[in-house]
């Protein structure tokens, strides 16, 4: 009941339109920049190949090598992931990775006041005498998740349609399968960050403070992932990257079931951890 009421309320508000516009603009920007860079690189490659007097087969091979190298950079050099993404236009992968990077920030902007926005002005007092705090929190979380997943689907579909129209060998089957796969990956990924936002929102009365702390935590996670990634493999510091949800993102696109399951479970763990924390805090706190 809370979920449906909150969904209706969110969809009625101007905020959801603003967020959709923001997310669309950002994705479009990345799409255009990446598309432009890819085209320029392709032209340069074609020119260099023509100057070198190579034939069409050699040109295609160089292009394929370039794509492979770029894809390897994006997915951390995992051959299996690269293989799985070989059917997907490069522009889709780049835009997806870029939006995935900024998705936690977007989620924070979207949901930072889901609890603190009610605790600060004490509106929540009207609710806690007629519903359990647990139900309130889960209702809010699920309504935010529903709206978020709807927005992500719209954006993902937009990116895929663009790629479909501009890439002749991108088949409808591949389009549908990969759209579903990318959307599910974004869903699993974003739910853990939404749970983090819920946790931060449950901690404070002031929505602005919730947002600031949420952003601090996000930067903390990115930093931990980077430090862990740059450290020597044998160094204990390398293990800190396992503490960051960002570390498991590539595994969500992995074709292997085990790798996908590990990443998926890691995100489920983070989601439950953050959401569990939020529930405990809201149950115990003064309103």
């Amino acid at each position: 009941m809370i979920w449906s009421a909150e969904c209706r309320r969110t969809l009625r508000s101007a905020r959801v339109l603003a967020l959709l516009a923001l997310y669309s603009l950002f994705s479009m920007l990345v799409l255009l920049v990446v598309g432009g860079i890819t085209r320029a690189l392709r032209e340069q490659l074609d020119m260099q190949i023509a100057q070198a007097g190579a034939n069409a087969a050699a040109a295609d091979q160089v292009t394929a090598e370039f794509r492979k190298g770029f894809l390897g950079f994006l997915v951390g050099g995992d051959q299996a992931v690269m293989e799985a993404l070989s059917q997907v236009p490069l522009v889709v992968v780049v835009v997806f990775k870029a939006t995935l990077f900024f998705l936690p920030l977007y989620v924070a902007i979207m949901g930072f006041d889901q609890v603190s926005g009610e605790v600060g002005p004490r509106s929540i007092r009207y609710l806690t005498v007629r519903a359990r705090r647990l139900s309130l929190l889960l209702g809010r979380f699920l309504s935010q998740a529903t709206v978020l997943l709807g927005l992500v689907l719209i954006i993902d579909a937009g990116i895929f349609v663009y790629a479909w129209l501009t890439t002749p060998d991108f088949t409808f089957g591949s389009f549908t399968f990969n759209l579903l796969k990318f959307w599910l990956a974004a869903m699993v990924f974003s739910l853990s960050y939404l749970a983090l936002t819920t946790l931060c929102s449950s901690l404070f009365r002031a929505p602005a403070l919730s947002l600031v702390v949420n952003i601090f935590v996000l930067f903390g996670f990115w930093l931990v992932n980077l430090i862990g990634g740059f450290a020597e493999k044998d160094s204990p510091v390398a293990y800190v990257r396992y503490l960051s949800p960002s570390h498991y993102a590539n595994g969500l696109l992995h074709p292997g079931l085990a790798e996908f399951a590990v990443s998926g479970l890691a995100y489920v763990f983070f989601t439950l951890l953050f959401l569990g924390g939020a529930i405990v805090i809201l149950r115990e706190r003064d309103l």
Binding site: R12, P121, Y126, V129, R132, L134, D286, L287
Partner: protein, 304 residues
């Protein structure tokens, strides 16, 4: 089922070093209109908030309608609350918001209940108005309407008439009287002592977080043990009055106000008052009026 709607035993609430409520014990009987009285910072709203489960006591125990108010969801359907300074959530129109809350409360026909309660507070015309567009008085009445939805057996009202114009305040007082007639237990926290004196059966006077006095309104105002006579003209012979049966003391407060105390246990007030007034008239004293007990305001000022 317990006859007590609310039982508070040795409840203390601290905010850091500050003790907002200090060892307060009180009980509210079912069907009673009960007042929480005290100056600013006395601990009224903190006590009220603990009754509603918004705040956790630092120590002591609370039972509201037989349950611990901090238990998640335990108060559902048992109480209606008008919280002080709680802003109505934005993004809603009044009617749909109340309907949603009625649904959460488990009311059988939520929309009808929302309409009925808005009518009770004289605000049905606000059904389609956005909550952020409501005036202070309209928002307060909307909040009062939500407290009445589902006919809860206990209604807690924190400053229900604060900031309202006299006509609407009177309308709110009538709603409280109606609740009393329906044997609903009502707890009212207010600064308006005249209002509380009119409405309440019993009250607790809080001061600096402590309970200064609690009891029935008659006990608090001494209605069963004293009265005052406004003298227009004539000489009051105090020793003769003190000799009358039941009178324990008599004294003049200023030149025109006679204060009489009597034994309320052994004598009925109407008998003692008639005896004293009769004696005054016999001795040529003309009187303007008689008032039983003290004003609640006087009692509160004395205690706080």
């Amino acid at each position: 089922m317990s006859e007590r709607a609310i039982e508070i035993v040795e409840v203390t609430r601290r905010f850091g070093a500050k003790v907002a409520v200090d060892g307060v014990s009180l009980s509210v009987n079912r069907g009673e209109v009960y007042g929480l009285i005290g100056p600013n910072g006395a601990g009224k709203t903190t006590t009220f908030s603990m009754m509603c489960g918004y705040l956790r006591p630092s120590s002591g125990t609370l039972r509201v309608m037989g349950v611990d108010p901090r238990e998640d969801g335990a108060l559902k359907g048992k109480i209606g609350v008008l919280p002080q300074d709680a802003i109505l959530p934005g993004g809603w129109k009044v009617g749909p918001l109340l309907t949603y809350w009625a649904q959460l409360s488990g009311v059988a026909n939520p929309e009808q209940e929302a309409r009925t309660c808005l009518e009770r507070v004289g605000l049905i015309e606000a059904w389609g108005v956005e909550t952020h567009a409501l005036s202070h008085g309209m928002a307060k009445r909307t909040a009062l309407a939500q407290a009445l939805m589902g006919r809860p057996p206990l209604v807690l009202l924190d400053e229900p008439t604060a900031g309202l114009d006299p006509r609407i305040a009177n309308q709110v007082r009538q709603v409280i009287r109606d609740l009393k007639d329906q044997h609903t237990t009502v707890v009212v926290s207010s600064h308006n002592l005249q209002e509380l004196e009119q409405l309440c059966d019993a009250a607790a006077i809080l001061d600096k977080g402590r309970l200064a006095q609690a009891g029935t309104m008659a006990e608090l105002t001494g209605q069963s043990a004293e009265f005052r006579v406004q003298v227009a003209r004539g000489t009051v012979i105090v020793p003769e009055l003190e000799a009358l049966p039941g009178v324990t003391s008599a004294r003049m407060e200023g030149e025109t106000l006679l204060h009489v105390r009597f034994d309320g246990q052994g004598h009925k007030p109407e008998e003692v008052i008639s005896r004293v007034v009769g004696h005054l008239l016999q001795t040529g004293v003309l009187i303007l009026g008689v008032s039983r007990g003290r004003r609640l305001e006087e009692r509160v000022l004395q205690l706080t």
